[in-house]
C-alpha cells in the first residue's frame, strides 16, 4: 500500500503544486519540498521493513485482466536504494530550482513531481507493461521541463531527448510484447508479470533479438555509445533542476532496467551478448571521456562524463558477478550524487553569469572560494578518488569485470586516466587561471549562499559516506543481487571469457 502511496503522492502533489500557484506563487516549491520530504520519510520507513519473499513491500491489483496485466509494485533493497536516491535528488532539484525558476513555477513543480512519479513507478513496477507505462510517462513532464525552462536551444534538445527515448522505448515495447507472447504460447495465458516472464523460454535467436530490444531501450536511457547523443543536448539545455533529475535519476532507470530485466529475463542471450555490451561500455568510457574533454560548454562536458561513467555500470552489469553488480549499483548511486551536484554547480554558474562557456571563465577561486572548493570536491569525486563513493563503484565494477573479461576491463580502466584529464581541465578552466569578467557581469558572480551550501554539504556527506563505509549501501542491495545471481545459476558465467 505504501508503494501506491509513494506514487500517488507525487502525482497528486504535482497537481496541487500546479494549482496552488494561483494562491501564492511561492507555494508550489513548498508543496514540492513537502511532498518529497514525505516521500523520503516513507521510503526510509521501508528500511526497517522485514522482507517477505525478498520484497520489503509489495502491492498487486488487477489492471488489464485481458492481458494479465496488473498493478504490481514491489520494492527490495536494490530498488529502495534507487528510490532513496530519487527522493533525495528530488529535494536537491527543488532546492536548485528554488530561486532559479520564477516563471510558471507551479507548472514547473508539477512537471518535476510527475517526472519523479514516473521514476518511482519504474523502480517499483514489477509488471513489465506497468514498467513500460511509467517508463514513458516520465518523458512528457521532462520534455516540458526542457522545452519550457530550458536554454537557448531547448526545442532541439527536448525533441531529441524525446525522440531518442521514445523510439528506443517502442523497440523495448515490441520486445516486451514478444516476451509476453511467448509466455502466452508456452503457458496458455497472458502475463506481463516479472516472475512469470522469468520462466519463458525462447529459441536462441529469438531470445537474442528480444534481449537486444530491451538492451536498446535501456542503453539509450543509460546512455551508452552509440545511443548517447540525446544526452549532451538535453543536459546542456535543461534548467539545472532538470539536469539534476536527468543525470541523477533518469539515467539510473536505464541501469536499473539492465540489472532487473535485460539480463535476468534473457540469461543465455545476455551471456552471449555480454562481450559486446562490455565492449560498448569500454567504448563509452573512453570515447565519451575524450569528447568531454573537447567541450567548451560546461554542461555538455559534464553530460559526456556522465556517459563515460555510466559505461562502468554497463561493464559491471554485464560482468554479472556480485562484485561487479555491487560496483554498478554503487556507481549509480555515487554518480547520481556527483553528477547532480556538478550540474547544480553549472546551473548556479549559469544563473549568476549567464554563460556556460568555459572559455569565458577562469580564476574564479579567488572570487567564489566556496563554490570552487565544492566544485573541486565533486570533480575529484568524479575522477574516482578513493574515499569517495564513485571510486568504490568504479573499482568494484572493474574488479568484478576483470573476472569476466580481462581485456575489456583493462581498456576500460584507462578511463580513469581520461577522467582525471577532463575533471582537472574543468577546474583549471573555471576556477584556476587569471580572473577576467570581460564576458559577463562580474558583480553577479556571488559565492554560494547557505541554502545552496546545505544541499552541497548533504551530497558531499553522502559521497564520503559511500566512500568510507559503503557497507550500508552494499548490504541493502546484496540480497537482491544475490537472488538475481542465483536465479541465473545456469548462466552464472555470463561474459566469462576466461579459459
Amino acid at each position: 500500500m505504501i508503494l501506491t502511496l509513494l506514487i500517488a503522492l507525487l502525482f497528486i502533489g504535482g497537481l496541487l503544486a500546479w494549482f496552488s500557484e494561483r494562491i501564492n506563487p511561492a507555494l508550489p516549491r513548498w508543496i514540492a519540498l513537502a511532498v518529497l520530504a514525505i516521500e523520503l520519510l516513507l521510503m526510509l520507513s521501508l528500511l526497517s521493513a522485514t522482507p517477505e519473499n525478498g520484497w520489503l513491500a509489495a502491492y498487486n491489483h488487477a489492471w488489464l485482466p485481458r492481458f494479465g496485466i496488473s498493478l504490481q509494485f514491489a520494492v527490495d533493497g536494490f530498488s529502495l536504494l534507487l528510490l532513496l536516491l530519487t527522493a533525495f535528488l528530488g529535494i536537491v532539484a527543488v532546492g536548485s530550482a528554488w530561486s532559479e525558476i520564477t516563471e510558471r513555477a507551479g507548472f514547473f513543480y508539477f512537471n518535476l513531481l510527475w517526472t519523479l512519479a514516473g521514476v518511482v513507478g519504474i523502480f517499483t513496477a514489477l509488471d513489465l507493461f506497468l514498467f513500460f507505462f511509467f517508463w514513458e510517462v516520465m518523458l512528457i513532464p521532462m520534455y516540458f521541463i526542457i522545452a519550457i525552462w530550458g536554454h537557448e536551444n531547448k526545442f532541439y534538445a527536448a525533441k531529441k531527448f524525446f525522440i531518442f527515448t521514445q523510439v528506443s522505448g517502442l523497440i523495448m515495447l515490441v520486445s516486451i510484447v514478444v516476451l509476453a507472447w511467448f509466455h502466452y504460447l508456452q503457458f496458455g495465458f497472458f502475463s506481463f508479470a516479472y516472475q512469470d516472464l522469468l520462466n519463458v523460454g525462447m529459441n536462441r535467436s529469438m531470445e537474442m533479438w528480444v534481449m537486444l530490444g530491451f538492451f536498446i531501450g535501456f542503453a539509450t536511457k543509460l546512455p551508452s555509445v552509440p545511443f548517447h547523443n540525446w544526452l549532451p543536448d538535453a543536459h546542456s539545455q535543461a534548467p539545472s533542476a532538470g539536469s539534476i533529475i536527468l543525470a541523477g535519476v533518469l539515467l539510473k532507470t536505464g541501469a536499473y532496467g539492465l540489472v532487473r530485466f535485460a539480463v535476468p529475463l534473457f540469461p543465455n542471450a545476455a551471456a552471449e551478448f555480454a562481450p559486446f555490451a562490455m565492449t560498448l561500455a569500454a567504448i563509452s568510457i573512453l570515447y565519451c571521456a575524450k569528447v568531454a574533454f573537447a567541450q567548451s560548454d560546461i554542461k555538455r562536458l559534464i553530460a559526456y562524463t556522465s556517459v563515460s561513467h555510466m559505461g562502468f555500470v554497463t561493464l559491471g552489469v554485464y560482468a554479472w558477478n556480485e562484485l561487479a553488480l555491487q560496483g554498478a549499483v554503487m556507481t549509480m548511486l555515487a554518480h547520481g550524487l556527483s553528477s547532480a551536484a556538478l550540474f547544480m554547480l553549472a546551473g548556479a554558474l549559469q544563473h549568476r553569469i549567464h554563460t556556460r562557456n568555459m572559455h569565458e571563465m577562469g580564476g574564479f577561486w579567488g572570487r567564489v572560494p566556496r563554490m570552487s572548493a565544492v566544485a573541486l570536491f565533486f570533480s575529484i569525486a568524479a575522477l574516482g578518488m578513493p574515499g569517495l563513493g564513485n571510486f568504490i563503484g568504479e573499482f568494484l565494477a572493474l574488479l568484478g569485470a576483470f573476472q569476466a573479461n580481462q581485456v575489456l576491463t583493462i581498456i576500460s580502466a584507462f578511463g580513469l586516466i581520461f577522467a582525471s584529464v577532463y575533471s582537472l581541465w574543468v577546474i583549471q578552466k573555471i576556477f584556476h587561471g587569471k580572473y577576467s569578467d570581460n564576458a559577463f557581469d562580474g558583480s553577479r558572480l556571488l559565492d554560494l549562499d547557505n541554502r545552496e551550501m546545505a544541499f552541497y554539504a548533504a551530497m558531499m556527506a553522502g559521497l564520503v559516506w559511500m566512500g568510507v563505509y559503503p557497507q550500508s549501501f552494499l548490504d541493502l542491495s546484496a540480497p537482491t543481487l544475490q537472488a538475481l545471481l542465483e536465479s541465473q545459476a545456469g548462466a552464472a558465467a555470463v561474459g566469462a571469457l576466461q579459459p
Partner: protein, 490 residues
C-alpha cells in the same frame, strides 16, 4: 424466366429491431429536413440532430448486449456493428457540437449541414453493418455524397476569402468517384467469378498461386478502399481535402469517414482470411509500409495543422493496416480487438485534435497555421493541455488511449510475426514525434504580442474536454473497454 423468389424472403417487425439505430438516424434526418422546411431555426436543428444521434447511440448501446440477430441479406447488425454504431453516432454528436460554434456567424443557410451530417452518419452506420457489396456501395456513397456537401459547405459565403472549400470538394468528388469505379469494377469481377455479392461469397474466389483473376479483382477493390483510407499511393488527396474543408467537416471525414472503411475492411478480411491469397496480403503489407513512411515524412516540416493531421492520418492508417494484415495470418481475436480499440482511440484523438481546430476556427477563417497556436498553453491552458493530450495520443505516449491502441497493434503484429511492419511502426513513430512535438512546442512558446483574440465556444470546449477525459480514462484504465471489445469480436 426465373420465378419470383422474394416470396421466400419476408421481413418481420422483429427483424427491424437491430436496425433501430439506423431507423433513428433516418428519422432524425427526415425530422430535420422537415423542420428546415417549416422554419429555419439553427439551435433547434442542432438540438434535434444531437438528440436523434444520441438516441441512436443509446439504442445501439442497448442492442450491443442483446442477443445476436440473425444475418439479414444486406446488413448484419451484430454486436460488432452496434459497437461501432455507438462510436459513429457519438462521434457524429461530437462533430455536431463542434460545428455549432463554427457556423455561428455563417452568412448562408447553416441548417443543411446538420442534415447532411445525419445522412452521412446513416451511410456510416450502414457500412458498420454491411455484409454485402450492395450495402457497401450504398453506405459508402451515402457517406461520400453527404460529405461532398459538407466539404463545400461554405461555398456561398462572402466572409470567406478563398475557394478552398470548393476545391476540396471537387477534388474529393472526382477522386472518390474514380475510386468508387475501381471498387465497383473489382466487385463486378468478383461477382462474375463467384456469383455472389455478399462478403461471405468471397470464399468462392479461386485461391492458390497463379490466380491472377482473383488477385486483380481483389486489388481493384483494395485500391478503392486504399483511397478511402488514404493509403499510399492513394493518399494524395488527403491533405488538400482536409485543409480546404471547413474544420467540422474535416473532423467528420477524418474520423467517421476513415473508420467505417476499416470496419468494413475488417469484416471482409475476416470473411476472406481463409483464402490466404498471398499476393494480396503482400500488397497490403507494402501499402502499410509505404503509408507509414510516406505519411510521416510528408508531415515532417508541414506548417498547417490540418495538413499535419492529414499526413499523420496516412501513417495511422498504415499502423492500423498492420493489425488487418495480422488478421490475415492469425486466427485469434487479437488483431480484431486491436483494430477495434485503435479505431476507438483514433476517433477520440482525431476528433479531439480537429475539435481544437474547429473551436478556434470559424467559417470565415480557419485557424490551422501552426503559428496560430503559439502560446496557446498560456492563453488557454486546458485547451492546450487537451490538444497536447491528443497529439501525444497520436504519437502513442502512455496515459493516453493512443498508447493502448499502439500496444494492441504491436501485440497483433507480434502475434503474426510482422517484424518488418513493426520496424516501420517504430521508425514511423519516431519521425512522427518530431512534428507532433513541433506543435506542442509552439503552444509552449510565449504568446506573440500581436496575437488575435481566440474564439470561444462552450459546446465545442465541452466536447474537447470530454474527449480529453476519455482519452486519459481509456489510457489509464482501459480494462472495461477491452472486455467490451473482446465481446464483440467477429
Amino acid at each position: 424466366m426465373t420465378p419470383l423468389d422474394y416470396a421466400g424472403y419476408t421481413m418481420s417487425a422483429g427483424d427491424l429491431i437491430p436496425l433501430l439505430p439506423l431507423l433513428a438516424v433516418t428519422a432524425t434526418s427526415i425530422w430535420v429536413m422537415m423542420a428546415i422546411g417549416v422554419k429555419r431555426n439553427y439551435p433547434f436543428v442542432l438540438g434535434s440532430t444531437v438528440a436523434g444521434l444520441l438516441l441512436a447511440a443509446l439504442l445501439a448501446m442497448r442492442l450491443l448486449t442483446g442477443p445476436a440477430p440473425e444475418a439479414a441479406p444486406l446488413l448484419t447488425m451484430d454486436a460488432y456493428a452496434q459497437f461501432f454504431t455507438v462510436l459513429i453516432c457519438a462521434a457524429a454528436v461530437g462533430v455536431s457540437l463542434l460545428s455549432h460554434n463554427y457556423w455561428t456567424e455563417f452568412d448562408d443557410q447553416r441548417e443543411e449541414f446538420f442534415l447532411l451530417l445525419s445522412l452521412a452518419t446513416l451511410g456510416a452506420i450502414v457500412l458498420a453493418g454491411a455484409n454485402h457489396f450492395a450495402s457497401l456501395l450504398l453506405g459508402l456513397e451515402t457517406l461520400s455524397m453527404s460529405l461532398y456537401g459538407m466539404l463545400a459547405y461554405p461555398v456561398h459565403s462572402k466572409r470567406k476569402a478563398n475557394s478552398h472549400a470548393l476545391e476540396s470538394a471537387v477534388k474529393y468528388l472526382i477522386l472518390s468517384a474514380v475510386s468508387t469505379a475501381m471498387i465497383l469494377f473489382g466487385v463486378a469481377l468478383i461477382y462474375a467469378e463467384t456469383g455472389s455479392l455478399a462478403f461471405a461469397g468471397l470464399g468462392g474466389l479461386p485461391a492458390g498461386p497463379g490466380v491472377g483473376f482473383s488477385v486483380v479483382a481483389l486489388l481493384l477493390v483494395s485500391a478503392g478502399v486504399a483511397f478511402k483510407l488514404s493509403l499510399f499511393p492513394f493518399h494524395i488527396w488527403t491533405p488538400d481535402v482536409y485543409e480546404g474543408a471547413p474544420a467540422p467537416a474535416t473532423a467528420y471525414l477524418a474520423t467517421i469517414g476513415k473508420i467505417v472503411v476499416f470496419i468494413v475492411l475488417l469484416r471482409v478480411v475476416v470473411e476472406t482470411r481463409s483464402l490466404g491469397i498471398a499476393p494480396v496480403v503482400i500488397v497490403f503489407s507494402l501499402l502499410a509500409l509505404l503509408s507509414i513512411i510516406a505519411g510521416n515524412l510528408l508531415a515532417l516540416l508541414q506548417d498547417n495543422i490540418k495538413r499535419i493531421l492529414a499526413y499523420s492520418s496516412i501513417a495511422h492508417m498504415g499502423y492500423l493496416l498492420i493489425a488487418i494484415i495480422a488478421a490475415f495470418y492469425a486466427e485469434g481475436p487479437i488483431s480484431i480487438e486491436a483494430v477495434s480499440f485503435y479505431l476507438f482511440a483514433y476517433v477520440v484523438m482525431t476528433l479531439g485534435a480537429f475539435g481544437v481546430v474547429s473551436l478556434l476556427s470559424s467559417d470565415a477563417l480557419e485557424r490551422d497555421g501552426i503559428s496560430d497556436y503559439q502560446g496557446l498553453f498560456w492563453r488557454r491552458p486546458w485547451l492546450a493541455a487537451a490538444f497536447t493530450g491528443m497529439l501525444l495520443s497520436l504519437a502513442g505516449i502512455p496515459l493516453t488511449a493512443g498508447f493502448i491502441g499502439k500496444f494492441y497493434l504491436v501485440l497483433a503484429g507480434v502475434e503474426s510475426g510482422l517484424w518488418l511492419l513493426l520496424a516501420a511502426l517504430v521508425v514511423g513513430s519516431g519521425i512522427g514525434l518530431y512534428y507532433y512535438l513541433r506543435i506542442v512546442y509552439r503552444m509552449l512558446l510565449p504568446e506573440p504580442a500581436d496575437a488575435p483574440e481566440l474564439r470561444q465556444g462552450n459546446a465545442a470546449f465541452a466536447i474537447v474536454l470530454v474527449l480529453f477525459a476519455l482519452l486519459v480514462l481509456f489510457g489509464v484504465y482501459p480494462a472495461s473497454l477491452m472486455s467490451l471489445i473482446q465481446g464483440i469480436a467477429l
